[in-house]
Symmetry: C2
């Protein structure tokens, strides 16, 4: 790495529906890509059940280990939505009804001629001292407390909340990534890859085999670095070495 | 719960490609569903990078907290495949070339007229004392050591390895799950749901809103229990209460 700080984050995906296999998670990939764009590296993900103790433990462990934490899931109006209470507990603060959030919900439901019931008002509850994250999609806001950002679990609502967080989390330069796609069995070029990795120790080179319907196969070699020049030089070297050893490269978009 | 033991598992997804958002994980959902079928509950997932220390820490923490651990990813022939070495380190044993695995690879590559190179032989390396997990798809076996089961990251290969583990992990009865789909905003029925949950404290009731293209919306209420009778009774009560409050139920398959 160059001398600058690498900004890190962890994601906590909260929900029995992910752990039961009922729902396929869509938030890991979209949060990962959003963080890349903010110059922050996602270093760890935990998926935990709708159990207070598990959420508290994950928030405390990851909140102290990484610069930023994002959570998805468990902020709706029903009894199994316990993220707010659990995060408040992790920070040792009470849960309050936030007047800003109440006003947002009131105007959201007023516009639809729907009553702001006690259940819906649950979505105005936040840990004391927390801030709101704008939710242009469905009214009920996300919540920020300390370095923890609490987002909805429904992927398009989570995406809208991420968008309203653009530029607001401290990060560095976006992570540069160059992909080289090749008609090569990764086992054929493993030695060569390792040599280039050893030559560029601060760059990360990943090797990801793919299989196509009908028997075609190959691998993507992905070069990643905070330093775009270094990533490009490493990728150039790798391309040269692959072609010199007779590997056919495939154009990627 | 009834008096019997609930068997638990954790999954460790290993790979920079998931944390960078390059690859969308497919293993969490398939491992979760497979575990359900074995009568084992997936209690936690961690996604960790291709970093030895991170893998060792996850294996040790989760291996002692849960009955079973499954890992996916990082067992191929390239320099970034460090799962075997990391798990061996977590168990404090050396890595050896396993003669059974070597024979499997030899015959796999012989059949294809391909040489068993040093890189490919990396896939015969296992922690000393470990057993193999059959891989009918692509030759290179998975590995079992203690309560840790090391699978490939490529989803169809992981699926084949899970199939060869059918019935081999100690579990209980499959988790029973009943889904009730309704044309209801979950905030409309949150109070009712909580009352039924309080009436059946040992059953888990999840509420999962959905939105359809074109504006339709509703929620799935999922009742889960080790005890199929109890799950059915709870679901029946919930159905009755929803209908009594005027909610329209939707037939599900």
């Amino acid at each position: 790495m160059s001398g600058h700080k690498t900004w890190t984050a962890a994601l906590i995906v909260i929900g029995d529906e992910i752990l039961s296999g009922r729902t396929e998670d869509k938030n890991i990939a979209q949060v990962a890509r959003w963080l890349n764009g903010q110059g922050i590296r996602l270093q760890e993900v935990r998926v935990v059940p709708d159990v207070e103790e598990a959420i508290v433990e994950a928030v405390q462990a990851l909140g102290s280990a990484y610069d930023h934490v994002i959570t998805t899931g468990g902020i709706g109006p029903t009894h199994d939505d316990i993220t707010i209470d659990s995060v408040a507990k992790a920070f040792g603060v009470p849960v309050i009804v936030d007047e800003r959030a109440r006003a947002i919900l009131q105007s959201h439901y007023d516009a639809r001629g729907v009553e702001l019931t006690e259940s819906r008002l649950r979505m105005a509850r936040i840990p004391e001292g927390a801030d709101l994250i704008d939710n242009p999609t469905s009214g009920a806001p996300g919540v920020k407390i300390g370095n923890v950002h609490i987002l909805a679990g429904v992927p398009n609502i989570a995406a809208a909340m991420l968008e309203s967080l653009n530029g607001k989390l401290q990060g560095g330069a976006p992570v540069a990534s160059v992909t080289i796609r090749a008609h090569a069995a990764e086992s054929e070029v493993a030695g060569l890859l390792k040599e280039v990795q050893d030559q560029f120790p601060s760059v990360s080179i990943g090797s990801y085999p793919f299989y196509r319907e009908g028997g075609g196969f190959g691998a993507d070699f992905v070069v990643r670095s905070d330093d775009v020049d270094l990533a490009n030089r490493c990728a150039e070297e790798l391309r040269k070495r692959l072609q010199a050893s007779g590997v056919e490269l495939i154009e990627t978009a």
